[in-house]
């Protein structure tokens, strides 16, 4: 097999309009040699899951600043599973209160990254998570 590229979908579900963080992460992943599919603002969980399927990505990054993460993230995970993409790793960035992190990790999120996160950590985590996830 030739050079297997890591493909990551970076999406912004929900209604807030700030995508600076998402773009910083997208660029960092690109600079780490990954192919980043960027979908832009105001994506529904359905749109995100569908894009993840069509693009056959290894990971999905969700940037959420609106506070709706406890509704949006489980829904995305559920839809990925329903589509036969349980192997796709999901990470979350944005403004996530500390007390919500354990619950997100429990339902399968591989990492939660708030402001001030070093992008190298995200890259390292994604690589590790993908290496351990066997495609179904």
């Amino acid at each position: 097999m030739t050079d297997r590229k890591i493909r990551v979908l970076v999406a912004k579900p929900g209604l807030d309009g700030h995508d600076r963080g998402a773009k910083v992460v997208a660029r960092a992943l690109r600079d780490a040699g990954m192919e980043v599919i960027y979908t832009g603002l105001r994506q529904t969980p359905e749109m995100i899951a569908e894009a993840a399927l069509q693009e056959d990505v290894d990971a999905v990054g969700l940037s959420i600043l609106s506070g709706a993460h406890m509704a949006l993230v489980p829904r995305v995970l559920e839809l990925l599973k329903a589509n036969g993409q349980a192997h796709v790793r999901v990470f979350v960035g944005g403004i996530i209160p500390d007390e919500d992190v354990p619950r997100l990790v429990e339902i399968g999120v591989v990492g939660v990254y708030g402001p001030g996160t070093v992008t190298e950590d995200i890259i390292k985590d994604i690589r590790r998570a993908i290496a351990s996830a066997a495609p179904a």
Partner: protein
């Protein structure tokens, strides 16, 4: 059920996975292409190219919508989209952002969008684009829109792959349309001036028109063919009936303006291709150039198996010492092979 059977049965997850195999040129991907080939040749392949920022993605979005709801009341067409963005030459990474402009298509099971990184190819497409399009064709997509990397002057590979090539221009991108000098203008079957609500649209259109008129209609037809002849070495003069004058259309893709006319012109071009024998001609040229490329790769790798590394490196040494020219080196190496065989 294996991947190929699932793809033929319309399974979208299987299609997505097979596209990855094909993009990565895996043995599984190659075998699948062999099996799928008999199911191809039905789709209308439409190329969309032009300078960065002319609105290619927005236009693809609108065009796909029109095919999903044809203005002439026809049956909705199943639409595949392959959108290519550049890979970084330094890290190999890429940001594929074409979906941002295609959100109107989300949730429609009759549309399948796939983003691709160029992965080092320079012609405006990626190495695997033709193969990916073949898979979508076999999967039953009747119209396949291929959006190239933002193209300047030399990215003309799309004309070899597509049946109909749209070249997108926009007002205000430089005096006398610097962005589309020789190469890219010659491959246009249809010229689109997008963002036509902007000032300067008359100038852009006038420049395009005068450039088209500079070439005599008959010569223009030949220009198109000359490009193909160079590519595949088929020197045959175009018959009169195969001369197509590229129309110039105005659109505002963000609002959907001009899309019905564009749809109509694409349909007219398709009829022209079918009626003039151009469809078969282009099909032959395209498949011949594809065959030639595969043949070259296969011949080189077969040849490499027959010649020893020692002999090969010895010739490279003589090259470095300027004992022989590269052309002589090739002759020497081919001789070496013949001797080793006999």
């Amino acid at each position: 059920m294996d991947l190929v059977a699932s793809v033929l049965a319309g399974n979208r997850l299987a299609l997505a996975r097979l596209l990855t195999q094909v993009e990565n040129d895996t043995p599984e991907g190659r075998l699948a292409q062999d099996e799928l080939y008999a199911h191809t040749g039905r789709a209308h392949l439409i190329g969309v190219t032009g300078a960065p920022g002319t609105g290619k993605s927005s236009l693809v979005n609108q065009l796909a919508r029109v095919y999903r709801q044809p203005p002439d009341g026809g049956e909705p067409k199943r639409v595949g989209v392959v959108a290519i963005d550049p890979s970084s030459p330094f890290t190999g990474g890429a940001i594929l952002g074409d979906r941002v402009r295609m959100r109107d298509l989300a949730g429609d099971p009759g549309v399948f969008i796939r983003s691709m990184a160029s992965r080092g190819s320079l012609g405006g497409l990626a190495a695997a684009t033709a193969s990916m399009v073949l898979v979508l064709d076999a999967a039953g997509f009747e119209v396949i829109l291929i959006e190239t990397v933002g193209a300047g002057q030399a990215e003309v590979d799309i004309a070899r792959l597509a049946h109909t090539t749209l070249v997108i221009e926009a007002p205000g991108l430089g005096d006398d349309i610097q962005a589309i000098k020789a190469g890219i203008l010659e491959i246009a079957d249809i010229l689109v001036v997008n963002k036509a609500d902007r000032p300067g649209v008359e100038n852009t259109e006038r420049s395009l028109r005068s450039m088209l008129q500079l070439a005599h209609p008959a010569r223009r037809g030949n220009l198109h063919h000359r490009f193909e002849e160079e590519v595949v070495g088929l020197a045959e003069t175009a018959p009169e009936s195969s001369i197509w004058q590229p129309p110039i259309l105005r659109t505002v893709a963000t609002e959907g303006a001009g899309m019905v006319e564009l749809y109509g012109e694409i349909a007219r071009h398709r009829q022209f291709l079918a009626g003039s024998g151009e469809w078969e001609r282009r099909e032959r040229l395209r498949l011949q150039s594809e065959l030639d490329m595969l043949l070259q790769t296969a011949l080189v790798s077969r040849w490499r198996e027959t010649v020893s590394q020692v002999a090969y490196q010895a010739v490279v040494d003589r090259l470095i010492e300027r004992n022989i020219s590269p052309r002589h080196a090739v002759e020497t190496l081919l001789d070496v092979k013949d001797k080793e065989r006999s």
